[in-house]
């Protein structure tokens, strides 16, 4: 089909929409990693001694660890000494209103389509925007604080609420957890912090936008979200990165703490720069995300992964308390030379714990995608229940889709079910839609959206629209 080939060409040459660089003077540390750098980062952020110590412990532990090699996507060795571990816009805006923010920064956000102004007025979403490593502006904080909700950058939390940070930092993802989480623990620059007091239902969707801007900087942000007893919060995270030829490392850590009866809903739309069509450049998205659910608590992860050269992450739930619930909904779309190795871990510890996994993978071009997940039923998890479904859709004869679920069950009353299927978009489906007058592209887009519906419907409204558009754009002409 010559038509389709042309549209594939067109698509392949389509530039990354968010591929511009903002020229904001950055305050940087020299590249490299040693104890001095860890000290320097800590000093720049005026951190208390215990945190500096914690970073150093992590760093020393990191030195003893080996980079993992078991994952499916292979990548050239990362030069950890070549990374700039701290980069902040030089003018740290101390602002009370948006007018005082560096105009170029504002423009940056406008290009991204998340103008703070716009968001503030129209959607009532509070945004904590992380520009490189320092949180620039937090909106709606005052309104939130009336209810006792703390939503601020991580460094502010360290200064203003050290007791909370000290109590929960590393409680879900200890600094010894894994290679990248340990690295993050040593050098994390900033991130978001959120605390919802007991019984409070957060009145709006909280949101953070991440962007990697300066060349050669790794982004090591850290998110700590605590929902106290009976609280509810829905948190959105969106990521874009400008075009760069070097691979950029993004090794974030997200920790969720859901205390008794709390409910955390965490949604991600990830659209980092995926590299060009030959696989040059792009972001390495190696993220550790984990939530700890106490009694009757619920943690729900929803992710739409369309970007990054390599996505490698397993948002997980530790279902510690009885009757706790974990959910994982994921759409991963890879094309060109993108690679993804993603999935989830559900650790059932408490009685009557429940988990649901719905994963949809779409692979096109030369992309390679792996679902890897673990459902672990501990001996004491009487009455535990898991249901997993992982479907893959293949577009074109050169892509790959793999499914590797691990199931470990040590309790006879637990019921674990897993099913997976892999197939291409059937010619019959396309034919049917075509004879109804839809173009091939629209037909594919419609089928893919239908394929992902179970997941997209879990996203909050604003994100669902963005995600659907994103999938459409990413798929244009990808069918032959």
């Amino acid at each position: 089909m010559p038509d389709t080939n042309e549209s594939i060409e067109a698509l392949a040459q389509q530039e990354y929409k968010h591929g511009w660089v903002s020229h904001v003077d950055a305050d940087q540390l020299p590249p490299g990693l040693n104890e001095d750098i860890v000290h320097a980062i800590s000093a720049k952020k005026h951190e208390p001694e215990w945190l500096t110590e914690w970073r150093l412990r992590a760093f020393r532990h990191w030195l003893t660890m080996r980079e993992p090699e078991w994952q499916k996507p292979k990548y050239p060795k990362i030069d950890y000494q070549g990374i700039i571990y701290y980069s902040a816009p030089k003018k740290k805006p101390e602002v009370s209103s948006l007018d005082e923010v560096d105009p170029e920064l504002l423009e940056t956000f406008e290009k991204l389509g998340i103008s703070l102004d716009e968001q503030k007025r129209l959607s009532g979403v509070a945004v904590d925007a992380v520009f490189d490593s320092v949180s620039v502006k937090t909106t709606f904080r005052e309104e939130l604080s009336k209810q006792g909700i703390i939503f601020c950058s991580f460094s502010e939390a360290v200064t203003d609420h050290p007791e909370l940070v000290k109590k929960y930092l590393g409680s879900v993802v200890p600094y010894t957890d894994n290679y990248f989480a340990t690295l993050n623990s040593a050098v994390f620059s900033d991130g978001s912090f959120c605390y919802i007091p007991p019984g409070v239902r957060c009145p709006m969707e909280l949101s953070t936008y991440f962007r990697i801007n300066s060349a050669g900087t790794g982004q090591f942000e850290r998110t700590l979200l605590i929902a106290d007893e009976g609280a509810y919060v829905s948190y959105l995270e969106g990521c874009t990165a400008p075009q760069r030829d070097e691979n950029q490392l993004h090794a974030a850590v997200v920790e969720l703490v859901a205390l008794k009866g709390a409910h955390i809903k965490y949604s991600t739309v990830q659209n980092w720069y995926p590299g060009d069509k030959d696989g040059k450049g792009g972001v390495y998205n190696f993220v550790t995300k984990r939530g700890m659910a106490s009694e009757n608590a619920k943690i729900s992860w929803t992710q739409v992964e369309t970007g990054s050269a390599i996505t490698w992450k397993y948002p997980s739930c530790v279902l510690k308390g009885d009757n706790s619930v974990g959910e994982f909904y994921s759409v991963a779309l890879t094309r060109d030379r993108q690679m993804a190795d993603t999935g989830t871990k559900m650790i059932h510890i408490g009685k009557n714990t429940k988990s649901t996994i719905v994963s949809k993978g779409i692979s096109a071009g030369h992309a390679d995608q792996t679902y890897r997940g673990l459902v672990k039923i501990m001996k004491g998890a009487t009455g535990a229940r898991n249901y997993s479904v992982c479907d893959s859709l293949l577009i074109g004869g050169t892509c790959g889709a793999h499914t590797t679920p691990y199931i470990e069950s040590a309790n006879p009353t637990a019921v674990v079910e897993h099913e997976a299927s892999t197939s291409k978009i059937s010619d019959d489906q396309i034919f049917f839609l075509r004879q109804r007058g839809l173009s091939e592209e629209d037909a594919v887009s419609m089928i893919v959206n239908g394929f992902c519906k179970d997941v997209l419907s879990e996203l909050p409204m604003e994100f669902a629209v963005e995600a659907q558009k994103l999938l459409g754009v990413k798929l244009e002409g990808a069918v032959g």
Binding site: A401, T404, S409, P412, A414, V415, E417, A420, T422, S423
Partner: protein, 435 residues
């Protein structure tokens, strides 16, 4: 992998080389090379992804002497036989036991012989031992270096045989830990229909390490029905590799029935090497005591229009464990592949454990692949239904467990084996059926 354990087998190898009769040069070279490979690979540990749920401490922790030839009587063997008219080869402790064999006049074109007797014949060249089972994995390498004997079964073009060929590998009791390694070669020529059963039987309670490798090759349009039946003793560690090679429009069915062994690991590697090849791999684990069964399957769809099916079921009681890892690979260009994989596990006791990892690895888009895995206990509604029909709880449970396991047995197309297993299954739950 560790580099320390492989030396544990160096004395075994040396002893074996001394004990073996004069062998042709090519075989000695093959053994040397394979042992070198094993030395380099070492024994895998739980840190190795493919062995994460199976610890080999029982193998690594012992010094294994080559099992000595022993004599057993026909009466000892009686409970393990399938049918009177079967074609039977028996090996005791890895050595050919001619007095126990049953080799009626065979149809033309069929050769059933111990490997040891084939080495000097003209066919030795055709044997090409290790041609299909590459000795790049530790236990296959070790087997190639240490095997003493095994069955050689070859059927010429067009032969169809209903009578199964039953190969029994028997381990006897003895003093101290002993090792035996055997090899089975099954070649089916074009349009052949052949049935082969491999039985592994343990008669004693001394620690044994049994390492078996089977190479099964089906040429164009051939049909092979194969089964491996494990009835080893509780102190036996059994490691087996089953290499299946399927050519154009041929079909291989292989059942692995695990009833006895302290630790058993079965690897099946099936290559669908030509268009339209088919492969059905099924398995059943009935675990009790502290048995540990590990089934590892890899089906490799190399060419288009292949079809593969897997159904593995495990019933684990007491402290037993069942591990399943199944992988379906669809290579680039293997369009029209149809692959299904199913693993179901039934846990009967609080201390039983199940680990499973069904995997799909797919590199082309025109495929129909699916897999499913479940783990749990008996359906309460089903029990309730049976109880409402007047069955007591225990009987209801046994009936359902029997049905669960029998789904696998039912698919066996080797009649005497199927009947024997059905009887055995009924017996296992018989005492309870009375209750």
């Amino acid at each position: 992998m560790t580099a320390t354990t492989e030396n544990g087998f160096a004395p075994t190898y040396a002893a074996l080389r001394k004990a073996l009769p004069q062998e042709p040069g090519w075989l000695s070279e093959l053994r040397e090379e394979a042992f070198e490979n094993f030395r380099a690979l070492g024994l895998p540990t739980v840190k190795h992804e493919e062995w994460r749920w199976t610890s080999l401490k029982s193998i690594a922790g012992n010094q294994w002497a080559p099992a000595a030839p022993a004599r057993i009587s026909e009466a000892d063997l009686k409970p393990y036989l399938l049918a009177d008219d079967e074609i039977r080869l028996v090996f005791v402790n890895g050595h050919f036991a001619e007095n126990l064999c049953k080799l009626p006049p065979l149809p033309e074109g069929l050769v059933v012989q111990p490997i040891s007797r084939m080495l000097d014949s003209e066919e030795a060249l055709q044997l090409k031992l290790g041609r299909y089972a590459a000795y790049t994995s530790p236990f296959t390498a070790l087997n190639t270096a240490l095997f003493t004997d095994g069955a050689y079964i070859r059927a010429g073009n067009g032969l169809a045989l209903e009578t199964p060929v039953h190969v029994l590998y028997v381990s006897t009791d003895g003093n101290g830990p002993a090792e035996s390694s055997t090899r089975t070669l099954v070649f089916a020529g074009e349009s052949v229909e052949l049935r082969v059963v491999e039985s592994f039987v343990g008669l004693g309670s001394a620690p044994r390490f049994v390492n078996s490798v089977s190479e099964i090759v089906a040429k164009g349009n051939a049909k092979i029905r194969h089964a491996k039946l494990l009835r080893e003793g509780d102190a036996t560690s059994h490691v087996g590799h089953n290499e299946v090679h399927v050519e154009r429009d041929a079909s291989v069915t292989s059942h692995c029935i695990c009833l006895g062994a302290g630790l058993a690991r079965n690897d099946v590697h099936a290559v669908l090497a030509a268009e339209g090849a088919e492969c059905v791999l099924n398995g059943l684990v009935l675990g009790r005591g502290s048995q540990h069964f590990d089934n590892h399957i890899e089906v490799d769809h190399v060419r288009p229009h292949g079809r593969s099916r897997q159904l593995y079921r495990a019933v684990v009681d007491d402290k037993s464990r069942s591990v399943f890892s199944g992988k379906v690979i669809v290579r680039p260009g293997a369009n029209g592949t149809d692959a299904q994989q199913q693993n179901n596990n039934l846990l009967l006791s609080d201390d039983a454990k199940v680990d499973t990892k069904p995997q799909l690895e797919i590199y082309t888009d025109d495929v129909k692949c699916s897999h499913g895995a479940t783990s749990g206990q008996l359906d309460r509604d089903a029990i309730f239904f049976l109880r409402s029909r007047g069955l007591n709880e225990q009987t209801a449970r046994n009936l359902l467990t029997y049905a669960f396991a029998n789904d696998v047995i039912e698919q066996i197309r080797i009649e005497p084996l199927k009947q024997a297993l059905e009887a055995q299954l009924a017996e296992r739950f018989h005492g309870l059926l009375d209750g």
